[in-house]
Amino acid sequence: MSRLVVDFITCDAHGICAELLPEWITLDDWGYPKLHTGAIPPELLPHARRAVAACPTLALHLRDH
């Protein structure tokens, strides 16, 4: 059971996560990520990991629980 969470204090609205994981992440009017809630489906997990690694401000976190 993995969930994605955003640390909005460090997020700078680069939007890379939404490009790498459009199935799960869209952007609001100001470019900040909006995430679906709940557990990431297993088939999206590799993309989620890539998005976490690609965030320039390290604001995206994958949590297990």
């Binding site: 909005f8 609205a13 609001d28 100001w30």
Partner: protein, 441 residues
């Protein structure tokens, strides 16, 4: 068991538990330590293992929940900090950032020693060497009352944990627990990204028990009189009493202690009744929501009861809003205040709240663009749960309930009809612009 306080034998008298009824927390103004001890007896020491076990049992069975707004079970945090790393801290949270609330200030002025007792017994339980008592730096009376009480303690019992009194920037979010930890660690009084939560990793990375001052005052009574005594008031799920700040169109506004489970209509009777017809109640402060006056008879003062009515008890603010005033104007005023109180850290909060307030002001002014209402509703959805702290959620709850309860008045405004209010005076308390605190340090 010997009677000692902060580890030292002082007063051999142990008072028999008083009647479990009201008043419990504020029987009068007791600022003198002797008088306090005469009334309550001395605080038990938890140094002995059996005393410690008995204290944790009592807190477990008491069912005490936090009085800072979130109603989190106190026992859970207490256990977590006690079982965490050594070198824990205790923080007595007297920030009272909610402008409409006065209960923490009143409690600190009337029963400073009970608050200190609670902080000291908590420190004993989690083996903390330092207690921070945090008070809004603009609340001079509460600050001075706590300072005097701490001085009396130091003189009476040298030794024991270090108690430090700290003045906090007077900001809406500064009393949030991670903001307190940030401030007490030398940073700005701004919330931090959690987890780790303060009770896991707080001040200097140590487990930190942050409790509201009213919670601590209750803890002081539970430590002395036990869980059964504590449960002698309130409901099975929400035992005890609660301090409420009742304001607006009531005969005797002020802070009252009532049993949890008291019908809202009884609370309004206790404060002398409403002085004019009311259109709504604002319950829970600006972190709470508007509830239509028609529902008053069905409301009871519990977290669960108010949640069933779509509201929240929060920190116990109950404001009777008169039908003579404009709910639209009031809601815009408060929403603007909340948006100004952003800590400026989170994109959705910074951008979203100012957009929402701009939109709602446009609706209130009348003849908005066609999309304005839809934009506001979408932004309310968008900022929900998207901040490091819950400030955006406060705005969402407050405005969604306003749009619902004052729906007709909003329509009048949008159609640019005459506002139905007959009294243009603002009612809900906001900080005085002359002394408003804009600092974070």
């Amino acid at each position: 068991m010997t009677s000692v306080s902060t580890g030292r034998a002082v007063d051999p008298s142990r008072r028999a538990a008083p009647h479990p009824g009201l008043p419990r927390l504020i029987p009068g103004v007791i600022t003198d330590l002797r008088e306090h001890l005469d009334r309550y007896g001395s605080l038990p020491s938890l140094r002995r293992r059996d005393a410690r076990g008995a204290f944790f049992d009592a807190v477990d069975h008491s069912g005490l929940r936090g009085r800072g707004g979130a109603a989190f079970p106190t026992a859970r945090k207490l256990h977590a900090v006690a079982n965490g790393r050594r070198g824990a801290f205790v923080v007595a949270n007297g920030a009272e950032g909610e402008p409409a609330s006065q209960k923490d200030s009143t409690l600190m002025r009337a029963a400073p020693h009970l608050v200190l007792d609670g902080a000291l017994i908590a420190a004993d339980a989690v083996r903390a060497g330092t207690v921070f008592v945090v008070v809004d730096r603009n609340d001079v009376m509460a600050f001075d009352a706590m300072a005097a009480a701490i001085d009396q303690r130091r003189a009476a019992y040298p030794g024991g944990p270090t108690v430090e009194l700290v003045g906090l920037p007077s900001r809406y979010v500064a009393g949030e627990s991670s903001a307190l930890v940030n401030f007490l660690s030398g940073g700005p009084a701004k919330p931090m990204f959690v987890p780790p939560r303060p009770y896991e990793r707080g001040i200097r990375g140590r487990p930190t028990l942050v409790q509201n001052v009213e919670t601590l005052a209750n803890l002081a009574l539970i430590a002395r009189y036990g869980a059964d005594w504590y449960r002698g008031l309130g409901t099975a799920d929400e035992p005890g009493s609660v301090l409420v700040t009742v304001g607006g169109a009531v005969a005797l506004p002020g802070v009252y202690e009532v049993a949890l489970g008291t019908p809202m209509s009884t609370v309004l009777e206790v404060v002398g009744g409403v002085t004019e017809p009311i259109s709504a109640l604002l319950v829970g402060g600006y972190f709470g929501s508007w509830i239509d006056a028609a529902a008053v008879d069905k409301l009871e003062v519990t977290h669960a009861g108010l949640a069933r009515a779509g509201g929240t008890l929060g920190c116990g603010v109950i404001t009777a809003f008169p039908a003579s005033r404009c709910g639209v104007h009031e809601s815009v005023r408060v929403a603007r205040y909340l948006a100004e109180e952003t800590a400026g850290q989170c994109g959705p909060c910074v951008n979203g709240l100012s957009a929402i307030v701009g939109g709602i002001e446009t609706l209130a002014a009348g003849r908005p663009a066609e999309r304005t209402r839809a934009d506001v509703l979408r932004w309310l959805d968008d900022v929900s749960q998207r901040g490091a702290c819950h400030l955006p959620d406060a705005v969402v709850e407050f405005l969604r309930s306003a749009l619902d309860v004052f729906g007709e008045e909003f329509s009048r405004h949008e159609l640019h009809w005459k506002c139905s209010a007959t009294d243009p005076e603002p009612l809900l308390p906001l900080p005085d612009p002359a002394t408003r605190d804009w600092g974070w340090r």
